[in-house]
Symmetry: D2
């Protein structure tokens, strides 16, 4: 292996992502796409045999493959700097995010964690405070911490953000984010469907069902594009089966700090809906619409003008969108490519930090973004429990 | 003129619909399309010269054209039965609906009134009670009364209703109706834009702005298709200009009598939106989506099945949809055709009643539907004024 | 009946359009929509009883309803001018267009004829020469003659035409018009389906099957929008059943007089296709696309610019489009409205000619347009029969 | 490096793909995505410095990076089997495909070559005959040879193919493949645009312009999905600038061996078109439509049934489609993912052949597919030159 590889790829270890994991393999594909990351170690399952099986399938050095994340972290921490995993990629079920992150930070590893950040807002606050005073392997500087709100990686989402931030639609009046899925329309958690069973279990998923799984994506997107933080929420949460504890559909009225109104609708019981994340931003002089299932299109309206259709790779885009695009116009980029935009931005920063400790990610959502997601969930749950009252987020 | 014409067309007089009226000419086109109505008299404006001008343009007998609706009603009431206008079509600004309707009912005329029904829920209740004890020209039977919630006339809306009512999507879990327009995104009411100025004036429009103008359409559609009445609302109303008194955007959480949740979002400040009425109904085993701007398509989803696209005139439709369709598959029918479906249903009933007083409209929304629309508006306004609380509708 | 009606409506008689006719009722709805036409007489079927039945349903004076078009024409010709049908609307099967038109012209009636114009190019030439020397009821001036290529009535088609003619897409390089239907995918003519049986019968339909029924629409649209006449064709005609004589699918390469290339694809055996007329015009600096099944949208592309979506009633349209539009943005206008644009333009001209014999229709396709359609059919049939050679049209 | 990596990844060397190459980086991303390929050597440019620069950026061992493909091949051939590049991935401009392929085959390397296969049909025939008698490194068995007609890798294209092959649309009557781009609408080759300049140069691109660059994709797709080979073509080729030698737009009538008719339309001067590859297959009982810019949707029509929308990852799909899909429903997969499906199939076969020399690719288009593409180009060029006559392909 030449030194150029060492210089050009961020080394990472994955926790979670074993045989039945969907999101673990997504993270790995995203990591591979741009050739900026190298998977060097892993704890893919708490079942050591399963972990080793995944490691072997991935061509990993099995001496760096573990059934315990604590063992993984300890072993990597002892490796020489030029070999050691630089960041820990957490793709476990939600309830394990915080313990793994906490241990990783303690050692000094950078962390790139799936969303929602953790199990509760209190846990998130603890992580924040731990991180603030933690030391990375580089010494008296905190490790990096990113949260994979991956939808922020789509070029057309970044174009939307650019347009809002540059004032091209005027003051934002209203933001609506819908996120509609149908896969929990039936009570499949009783059939041992693994993806379903942990997501509807408060022990593993946290206080939010649809709220935590997809509502946090929606809330993050509203802030990411709209540029103002969610200040208050009023939520109407529903559950479609008496034995399902967590919400499977949620309508959440929003007030942003700017005073702007908003709405998040998240459902996982909408029969026929796939992964229907739809963003609409209405400003005084223009509006924007984006839909995840046709992600290369951004609909742009302006007062008294015909509608414009902006397209990934097409004319009229900002540098923000162009920089997130690999292919020429008309060659569709999808979910993995958007995910890779987040991954690569984080990895690039990890690599930059080898020489410049002041480097921070340009795009990767932060621990604070993740913590705000936890507060969004808890405020919405509290609002709904109180019969729909406004609660600060 | 032969007796066959007398037998086959319902005679009507229009109140409102003068030179600058949009909705008046829509009603008249709808009335003409199916050849079942004949305009025989009118009071198109309270300005007699303007009224006569419209009457002349319409080829009307100017002796039956008036500048006062009371004169119109009195004169028509005195005509012989075979000549007399059978129903009064009210297309004035909202605040005049009730006075005109009241006078018409008093004489015994049938009434087909634009929406929203009137100016307040109290006024609506009065009309209901007046109608219940009124006598038509046929004697001791109340006149007919219809409200033109015209979107219920689209074949694909009727197909959606049929599918819900026949159980094909199972118990309804959630209904979302959005209605997005952009024409009030700027404060055009200050520029003497006639359509805008009365719609933002509480004296003429009533308690609701966007709520009254389009929110009532949305609420009616939710009930028409979903089959359960709106029981309670919680509303978040916004106004985009400090000098604009009425709401121009509204998010309304719903509870139906069935227990089903719902959401109505109505806005007139969404830059670039045309007349974006979108209906989504989610049931236990299927879901439906319809969009007014492409009205000949109904999206049908079912558990574990590929999406189906139902089309006006196409295979697989119910008799309800087929009966509302004039043309073969692929020949788009639009707004006027849907409006005509309401008009023709009402006119057919008027004609039937010449022989059979028990005839009632199959499709035309009723006075009670209109009254419920007024209660929806007032409950939403009260809920928002109270800081978003649940109010019975 | 007041004189204002006489002044404002063109009186017409319909030939064809009996009980099972689709196109006859479309013409009548189109005629009614704008209140500019009045049906005063008819020969709806050669079966007198059927003709009378239709007349009665339409509320017609049965003394002006006939089972013979010659009787109709003779009777109307003898009526006083202020009562007489001013134009004859021909909606029979194709083979009767020319005989009826010929007889109508002989009497001096204006004629509005469905397409294709007639049965053969020779017949078309005869009609042209007859018309040139015919006298209308007004004396030494030829009657008006229009052909209802109705798709030219859509506002967005007129917008497309305006854009090409005003140079906004530069010199036209290529025009493609597809027209795809699926209703003849099975051999339904053997099941006595009336619409199918005459269209596949060369005695009644003429030399073209799909070519005549829909290919002529496509060819007309190419000329109407593109502004250059079709000079030569090379055609590949297919028939899907050995016992079906006429083409049911056709691919036709075009050369326009301008030198521009083009392509017409017409099929009636494309399973699942409705009435899929799609127009694409590619110029040096821009391009246009329009699709009949979503007729209120025109897609506009320009070099290095994001795509624009022009919409009926929306911003940025020409006067040509605006004048063909009845409703505000977002209120879909459909097939009947477009048809009515052709009808009303013709009727307006008929009315204008009462005072000004120099008046000619602004929009209505002419007899020469119809004749060119016949030459297109015959040239395409000849080209295909010769094994795909170029033939002058 | 563990033996498991050796066992699980196919080692390859790339020829072409230097700093300005679009397609070279696409091949490499496709190769990385599924972790089944490892780039071990390369000749990225004939300019050695540029080649080394690319090699360094890719983290390649610079001892395995060359400025001459002959040197690359010779050096790799001498390496021990467990290190040696197993296949040569050719991504040069068209005119170099054959020389590189020829040299690679001579050594015994497997080859995965971009399309069009080479410069002429004669050259293709030579390659075919060379391959038939060549020996791979495994001895008396020919090397593998694949051509990256990458659009055949989309899951919904494979679903379409499955549906045709399994008879679900009946006998195919007509296939239309359009491929519309706009990037050559202006004469950008004069501005030193590298992608443009070689594509319009017959020395480097071959006899076909749009035909070779995109028409061959269209022709391959027609055969891949439709299941019958193109027997004859009749072509109308156009060039938009007098100084542009090769066609930039082409309409090609087809006859398949089955007797089925078809049409390929390829253009690169359609302003506003991106990468608009659209496939339509019409059968006796059903039809299919797929569009590359929204590649996760397949439109399925059947006689007398509502349209069905099949979606990548969704219900009702064949195993062929499912096996080509990485993500659950609603997570868009795009161009790179489809490309990777071809790459991975080829790489899997390369790996399998380590143990089983009878293994052949299930999906990768073959040398014969590539050669047929060359005959398609030449026949179309000859047909057009002869004034549109039928020529055997």
């Amino acid at each position: 292996m030449t030194s150029s590889i060492e210089n050009s790829k961020a080394r990472y270890a994955q926790v979670g992502g074993g045989p039945d994991s969907f999101i673990g393999s997504v993270h790995r594909m995203a990591a591979r796409l741009d050739n900026r990351c190298e998977l060097v170690a892993g704890c893919f399952s708490s079942d050591q045999a399963r972990s080793l099986r995944t490691g072997a399938e991935l061509g990993l050095d099995l001496k760096r493959t573990f059934g315990s994340y604590n063992q993984l972290l300890a072993a990597e921490a002892q490796r020489p700097q030029h070999e050691r995993a630089e960041f820990i990629n957490i793709v476990t079920p939600n309830h394990l995010h915080a313990p793994v992150a906490k241990a990783a930070i303690e050692f000094g590893f950078d962390v790139l964690c799936d969303k929602p950040l953790c199990h509760s807002a209190a846990e998130a606050a603890e992580l924040s405070s731990q991180l603030a005073s933690a030391n990375s392997f580089y010494g008296k500087v905190a490790p990096l911490f990113g949260v994979t709100y991956n939808y922020s990686g789509y070029p057309m989402v970044r174009e939307a953000r650019h347009r809002v931030h540059s004032g091209s639609i005027g003051t934002v009046r209203h933001i609506t984010v819908e996120y509609s899925q149908g896969w929990l329309a039936q009570q499949i958690e009783t059939e041992q469907q693994k993806q379903a069973s942990w997501r509807v279990d408060p022990e593993r998923a946290g206080a939010g069902g649809a709220l935590g799984d997809i509502g946090t994506h929606a809330a993050h997107l509203a802030e990411f594009v709209g540029g103002s933080k969610i200040a208050r929420v009023l939520a109407d949460l529903g559950t479609s089966f008496s034995s399902r504890v967590l919400d499977d559909n949620a309508s959440v009225l929003l007030r942003f700090e700017s005073g702007c109104r908003g709405l998040v609708c998240a459902t996982q019981v909408a029969v026929g809906r796939e992964n229907g994340l739809r963003l609409r931003v209405f400003g005084e002089t223009g509006s924007l619409e984006w839909f995840q299932e046709e992600p290369n299109t951004l609909i742009v309206d302006a007062l008294d003008r015909p509608r414009k259709i902006m397209r990934t790779g097409g004319p009229g885009l900002s540098q923000d969108a162009a920089a997130a695009t690999r292919l020429p116009l008309g060659h569709p980029e999808g979910f993995i490519e958007a995910f890779a935009n987040v991954f690569t931005d984080f990895a690039d920063t990890v690599i930059l930090r080898r020489q410049d400790l002041s480097a921070t990610p340009q795009w990767t959502p932060s621990l604070e973004d993740g913590a705000r997601g936890m507060r969004f969930i808890e405020a919405a749950v509290a609002s709904s429990a109180a019969g729909q009252t406004w609660i600060d987020a």
